[in-house]
């Protein structure tokens, strides 16, 4: 009976080719940290704070209007600003 030597090829696969190299060297040195908290996860997307000082009469007025129409202050602002922009466009 013929004697065969065991055939052994390389046990490791071929190394990757140069053209499949990724783009890690384009990544910034300091990995950017993504701060995620409850506020940034809000479904409304309202993540920025806008604070301003107003006159007392305006303060009372907008608070009462919002409460009466079951709106948030931000909704009064958004809707009011939208109307203002539309009015400016018409002029």
């Amino acid at each position: 009976m013929a004697q065969f030597k065991p055939r052994q090829g390389p046990k490791l696969p071929a190394p990757p080719a140069l053209d499949v190299a990724p783009q890690n060297l384009r990544a910034p040195e300091i990995a950017p940290s993504i701060a995620v908290d409850g506020r940034s996860l809000r479904a409304t997307g309202r993540t920025k704070q806008l604070a301003t000082r107003v006159r007392e009469e305006f303060y009372d007025d907008i608070k009462l209007y919002a409460a009466k129409h079951r709106l948030k202050i931000v909704e009064v602002l958004e809707q009011g600003f939208k109307l203002l922009k539309e009015a400016k466009l018409e002029n």
Partner: protein
Amino acid sequence: MGAIIGFVSQKGGVGKSTLARGIGREAAAGGLSVKIADLDVQQGTSVNWYRRRLEAGIEPIFSVESFKTAAQALKLARQFDYLIIDGPARASAATLEIARAATLIVQPTGSSVDDLEPAVLTFHELVRDGISRNILVFALSRVGTDAEEIEARAYIKQAGYAVLDGSIQERPAYRQASNVGLSITETRYPQLNKRADALIQAMVDRTDGTV
């Protein structure tokens, strides 16, 4: 200007700090001025190791410092015979910056495909960005058997890169030495110290040949 040796990798735990500390210790023992720049501010592996070394009163002492960016560390190159950069376990723009300034870039790797493949890809990226293959070398670490080492060497050679002579075997004694602030050439076992010294000598020869 002194030599700059950068230890880089895409993965953690491959032996960057171990080898950086080893060559730092040997260069200091040889009377050279040495700075190890630890670029992993969060982990500070080499800085913490050096604190243990100082607390234990081990000689020789040299300088190990933490840096947030590669640029900060590279500014010091003129002040030392050897600036050894212990890079973070992540390839980034800083890896390229280190490679552009370095005399030698050493990438330690284990001998499994899980380690070898990302390591080769990191060097491929550097080559694609214009870094000469002549300054890029692999150092085999955490090697289990001679057969494993032979296969890893063949893999790296096929990828077109050089591998330093010698290797760091997977031995608890190296970790035990590190735990108390000793380097890989300062273990309790002369044979292990000799093996580590051979690898470090290969790094030195390579550095001197390319300066």
